[in-house]
Amino acid sequence: MLEDVGLVDIVVGPPVDTFGGAPGEQNARAFDVYGYAFLARKPS
């Protein structure tokens, strides 16, 4: 979707176990959910 809106130079960081040990961990594990950092640039 980032590309669809015209953003470029897209970088995705490594996964972070955002929900590990939290009450929502079970749902997160069920769908393999992790947190990620994203970086993108609007063309000049």
């Binding site: 979707m1 980032l2 669809d4 809106v5 015209g6 953003l7 970088v11 960081g13 972070v16 176990d17 955002t18 929900f19 590990g20 040990g21 939290a22 009450p23 929502g24 749902n27 997160a28 069920a30 769908f31 393999d32 959910v33 992790y34 947190g35 990620y36 950092a37 994203f38 970086l39 993108a40 640039r41 609007k42 063309p43 000049s44």
Partner: protein
């Protein structure tokens, strides 16, 4: 998913996080979460508890790029202001941070925190991610943390990001992504969207 219902449920959830940050939520909050997500202690430790306790991000939007002095930043879904305050420290007195949030309780908390911190380069505006109260091409950088996944119309959010960014501007955000497909029935489960 009905966007209005989802927005109402999300607002209720984060109203609760603003009022009761130490209650049990389905996600981590506050200083332990900031440490878990890799925010440097030297950035987090000086902030007062009220500015950190309702932090409920899912990653670190500054991990792939730090902000530069003088940059104009928009924080989508700024909550109680934690990432906006981190951003304000990075951009310095010549920069500016505009936090946008739809939850009145979070806005009240972020504004009180900004006053307590004496920050003059941060302001918080009420608004939606899909209709940012920010002018076209005003932002050097847009940040967000754990918010876009809660929006039913993600394309509308990213279209707004592109509108408010100046040419050459940067989007740096953190959010969750699922590695396994979510069944159709689960996609309509409001509890899975909000917790």
């Amino acid at each position: 998913m009905d966007p209005d219902r989802l927005r109402s449920e999300v607002r209720d959830k984060y109203r609760d996080v603003a009022a009761h940050p130490h209650a049990e939520h389905h996600f981590h909050t506050g200083r332990p979460l900031a440490a878990r997500l890799g925010y440097p202690p030297e950035v987090v430790d000086p902030l007062p508890d009220a500015a950190v306790e309702s932090f409920a991000g899912v990653g670190n939007p500054f991990s792939l790029r730090t902000l530069r002095p003088g940059e104009s930043v928009v924080d989508i879904g700024s909550g109680a202001g934690f990432d906006s305050f981190v951003a304000a420290t990075m951009v310095g007195a010549t920069g500016r941070v505009t936090g946008v949030d739809m939850t009145p309780e979070m806005l009240a908390k972020s504004r009180a925190n900004a006053r307590a911190l004496g920050l003059r380069n941060v302001e918080f505006r009420e608004g939606l991610a899909e209709q940012l109260p920010v002018g076209t091409a005003e932002a050097d950088v847009v940040i967000s943390n754990g918010v876009i996944n809660l929006c039913a119309d993600k394309r509308a959010v990213f279209d707004e990001v592109v509108r408010v960014l100046r040419p050459g501007g940067i989007l740096q955000f953190a959010d969750i992504a699922n590695g396994r497909p979510v069944p159709e029935g689960a996609l309509r489960d409001i509890d899975l969207w909000t917790g």
